[in-house]
């Protein structure tokens, strides 16, 4: 039978983020992708912020004052959550790639999530104290 449609039956990158029908490892993958995109966006924002240094102390100080808004602080918390999760999950995947802990990858993911929560609480507390 001639195939009327050669294109695969896929929604492309949207299937990366669709949690329906996914299992534990799939959820880990989705969070990993979202944190990767978030951290990449943050990297560019960070470079913009550093660029303020080149515009003189007034520009930098006014940006720092702006950055103390609750919404920006919330964004910083998201960066911390994303950074901790992405880094620890990277260690999990690297271990798996060396054949270590593959049969316990779910438990390792739960560990990654647990450490992310603990790290988030510690950093969140320090951030509240600092402000």
């Amino acid at each position: 039978m001639e195939n009327p449609e050669k294109k695969p039956n896929t929604r492309g990158i949207w299937d990366w983020f669709d949690p329906r029908g996914r299992n534990v490892g799939g959820w880990g993958f989705i969070i990993n992708r979202i944190s990767a995109i978030g951290l990449t966006v943050y990297l560019y924002l960070h470079l913009v912020m550093l660029g303020k240094l080149a515009q003189g102390p007034e520009a930098y100080d006014s940006f720092i004052a702006f950055a103390k808004q609750p919404l920006i602080l919330f964004g910083e918390m998201l960066v911390i959550i994303g950074g901790i999760y992405h880094g620890l999950n990277g260690v999990r995947i690297a271990l798996n790639s060396f054949g270590v802990g593959v049969s316990t990858q779910k438990q390792l993911l739960y560990g990654v999530l647990g450490l992310t929560v603990i790290g988030t609480l510690i950093f969140g507390w320090r951030m509240l104290l600092a402000h």
């Binding site: 039978m1 449609e5 039956n9 896929t10 299992n23 490892g25 989705i30």
Partner: protein, 248 residues
Amino acid sequence: MSEEKWTVNFVVYRKKGEGEPHYQTFTLEVSPDEYVIDGVERIWAFHDRSLVFAHACHHSTCGACGMRVNGVEKLTCITRIRDVTTNGGTLRIEPLRNFPVISDLVVDMSRLYVGMDKVHAPAVHPLSMAPLEGGGIKPPRDVPMDDGKEYLRLADCIECGLCISACPIAGTAEDYLGPAVLAAAQLQGLNRAPDLTAIVDCVDGVWRCHSAYECTAVCPSNVDPGWRIMDLRRQVLAQRIRRWFGGA
């Protein structure tokens, strides 16, 4: 099978030729202990003879009846209706993802078969080339031996394609070999089949996998492709390290 009867709405993906895909609902009275493929066959037999779907053995050997049931890849001949819906509930039946749809619920699985050819995947392996992970599993006495007096076993993979459909990466990387193919390569082992190294140690080989383990979750045949891809990575890394130190 119990006498219990359920009313279930089968919401079936339909697509013919260049036409737009749509869903068609068929309400059936079924036994909850029947299998999903039984319902699909009944739709074809009594409601719409134009429904296109694939099936053959009805006992999870041929791998033909793989579909997505309520968004999850299932071998429909071993998926009891009771396990995936409720009385009065809905069963959304869709074709596998990441393959071109030929018609309705049938997809073109050339991608999988071409990959299997690429890694020269045989259906029968010497036992030493197909390690039974988990330890402690001994071959039964009636496992046949080849001429070299080595135990043989059938490969577990039934080439149903569920793993490729479930893989979130296979949808965006059409040249990715995919879980079943990489599992077939692992089954042979890079030490025994060194020509496979160049095929799997590349961007569309073991390194394309992003460790979602969806393949392992949906595999109806306990192949555990996720474990096998990671083991293949370990083999590739071991080869590289040996080469760095001047080994073969």
